[in-house]
Subunit: 450 residues, 2 copies
């Protein structure tokens, strides 16, 4: 089960920048109120529909996966919340999947999450597009990057396979609205994202689960982990609920100590994408009305050699959240080679997993000694069950933090203007004024360049 250790957030260990039991306790009422919104009030706030996903019926996902079985490759088109969740699942549960073909002949997996033509060219040179199942994911059904890639690829497949092309695509989108849904109604296979589940809360919907099924991950385990996390994270016992404690600590640190950057550093390469997923969840949910928290992606030990200097001695504006994996599921013992060199001899006989976990523990303490608050989430091992817990825990923490900040953690009002200006530049009808605006800005911009 996921654990949280927040000793290095407390004044008694890190000095006055830390907090106290009393201060935490003073949040009890506020926290329980926020919790009751999560537990009961989906009608009031449809964005909370993600809390129902752990109990969903996954039959449609399993059927969709079966449709693709036998194909050599699985190509996912999506961006933001429609790609990061699946990417996490792939990297955490089947790292280097494509380099190590499964004995049961699972398809290779490719994720195209940009409008970069070079990446698409590389992907197309790495697979036979005619032996590929393509999952197009867009909640709205109209995300330009995803739709553009879909159009390019549909055209390619259709040129080879004619009418059979449609059978190679699965559209994952809103159950009723949008152009992808309209296309599905004309006879393309589809999966639904429940209406109240926003892209960034969608990993445990068909968005992430189809890929999980395709790679042979333990999909039921993911959901069971999320259900168990739900049980723990909605407990009313203030001091026993890790989500409430984490959210309150993060909120206090930003409000009272100006610590507005929350670094997430899992000590496992397999959670590097998880760190990016968390950043998307956090940025879009909590950056609003001039308020908000900046999440920071990281991975240990690698980023000790990149960012620790800044965390230790730079501005006192960060909280560091460690993820520690007790059992990495693999190990290498450092052997007795090269004789008595100082930088080598003490390593002998230890495992690499001992080294990575020692560095994790040492970095926690080094930060604490320098009065830099940090807390640690522990999981016993990185399997589907615990990954499900991690996803769900962070989603609940995000929602709670949003409620404390008094913002709506389920909308993203400020991404629209960029879209409108892009529509203008691309010549979309009705956006002629936006095109004019960009062109005028170009003139202005001609002054200051070198």
């Amino acid at each position: 089960m996921l654990g949280l250790n927040f000793s290095f957030m407390m004044a008694e260990t890190i000095g006055e920048t830390g907090t106290t039991e009393r201060k935490l306790e003073s949040f009890r009422g506020k926290a329980l109120e926020a919790l009751s919104r999560i537990k009961g009030a989906m009608a009031e706030m449809p964005g909370l529909e993600f809390t129902r996903l752990p109990w969903q019926d996954i039959t449609p996902v399993k059927e969709a996966a079966r449709r693709l079985s036998g194909l050599e490759n699985f190509l996912l088109l999506g961006i933001g919340g429609s790609a990061l969740g699946p990417k996490c699942i792939l990297e955490a549960l089947s790292p280097l999947h494509n380099q190590r073909p499964d004995k049961r002949q699972r398809p290779k997996v490719f994720i195209y999450e940009n409008a970069d033509p070079c990446t698409l060219e590389s992907i197309l040179s790495s697979l036979d597009i005619n032996k590929t199942g393509i999952n197009v994911i867009s909640k709205s059904g109209g995300t330009s990057e995803t739709i553009a890639a879909f159009m390019v690829l549909y055209d390619l497949v259709e040129k080879s396979l004619g009418k059979e092309a449609a059978g190679r695509f699965i559209l994952t989108t809103d159950p009723e609205k949008g152009d992808l849904r309209r296309l599905a109604a004309k006879g393309m296979a589809s999966l639904s994202i429940p209406p109240g589940v926003g892209g960034r809360y969608s990993v445990l919907s068909a968005v992430g689960l189809l890929l999980a099924e395709v790679i042979g991950a333990d999909t039921e385990g993911l959901l069971r982990g999320a259900r168990d996390a739900h049980e723990r994270c909605t407990r009313e016992e203030f001091w026993e609920n890790p989500a409430i404690l984490a959210a309150v600590l993060i909120f206090i640190m930003q409000r009272d100590e100006g610590r507005k950057i929350d670094v997430l550093i899992p000590y496992s390469d397999r959670l590097k994408s998880f760190s990016e997923w968390y950043c998307q969840l956090w940025s879009e949910s909590l950056g609003k009305q001039g308020r908000g928290l900046t999440p920071y992606p990281s991975v240990g030990t690698t980023d000790q050699h990149s960012q620790v200097q800044l965390w230790m001695e730079g501005p006192r504006d960060k909280v560091v959240i460690f993820i520690r994996v007790e059992d990495h599921g693999a190990d290498f013992t450092i052997p007795d080679v090269f004789g008595g060199y100082e930088s080598m001899s003490f390593l002998r006989g230890h495992g690499l997993s001992g080294l990575i976990n020692a560095e994790e523990e040492a970095t926690e303490l080094a930060l604490a000694k320098n009065q830099r608050p940090n807390m640690t989430i522990t999981i016993p091992s990185l399997d589907a069950y615990h990954l499900g817990q991690l996803f769900y825990f962070f989603e609940i923490v995000t929602a709670l933090t949003g409620f404390f900040l008094e913002i709506n953690p389920f909308d993203q009002p400020s991404v629209e203007e960029g879209k409108r200006l892009t529509f203008g530049l691309m010549g979309k009808k009705g956006f002629e004024d936006k095109k004019k605006e960009v062109v005028e800005a170009r003139d202005k911009k001609s002054c200051y360049k070198v």
Copy 2:
């Protein structure tokens, strides 16, 4: 040639949070003084030795690459500055290198930059270690993660190849000091990192160049790009020097506007690792004495669907630095499929490169309209020559910004304590007190967990 457009940093376009020509001009003296340190004063500050790298003799690197020719794989062991630079070169100049074997039979490339046993297991299951050249990179010659991996792999190779094992390794390290240099003296091939070149400024030394040679990149082009960037970035004409202007703008924004987070968002997947390289350079160089700037890694358009909400409407604590690639070197025209759906029809006939670049331009303007300062670095194409310019430009900007902040951009004093505590935990002689400290901290930490 690399260009800089900083119109959206100016008050006349983004309102009062922006700066003015007059304010910039007032920095002229300070800037030219900082520049004179870079141009002349290596004796005073050995860390500036990186400015000599563009003129180095690359014969030893070419010879080392030849020693490895004919092997199936190239495995690089390094962490932080010893891995990020090479990774940038690989991803920018030969993306998906391993999926698309070069016609001239270049080796597949693997980079192990952690102590994660799962990653090493995955790598070992993807290659034949007996047909692999291994480049061990550590400036100090004693980086625990790198040394541990080296010991594990040497043992493996020696078990198969016996005495021939040594011939498969190339050690890249300090020319005189450290355990890797001592091993090299006993007969292992080696390359040198000049003494004054810190890990994070080492990409254009043997650290990055051996990999560049191995993948068949244009190594001379990289250095030529750096030389041309040196010429531009050391010009005394204040208004014509992009490095001075960028550093002054960044410094003013943090000092006068509290904008202490500098996001780098290249609109190209091939520069995603560059964004991480920049973060390491920036974090270790500029996070000191309670001061400093937090660099933020990003990639467009992907992170528009992740972070733009936060940049647009969150705290006013960021400067966004775009990198725009004019010609992506590949393209796909969006075809005429699916009839008249609203989200599709306007895309037809455009290229994906048109879409990605339109989104870049639109996002600049959307931020500017919301009084969010941003500037844009442009390169005509992403080849070795322009990558060399990018590396060198950012190194000079970092050094200049460090001088403005009145800190030493070439040391990293605060990473030592974590190392000492790790040594304690791993049982290194002389660090027994550190072990005691960690164990005592464990007791303290037992109170606050759930």
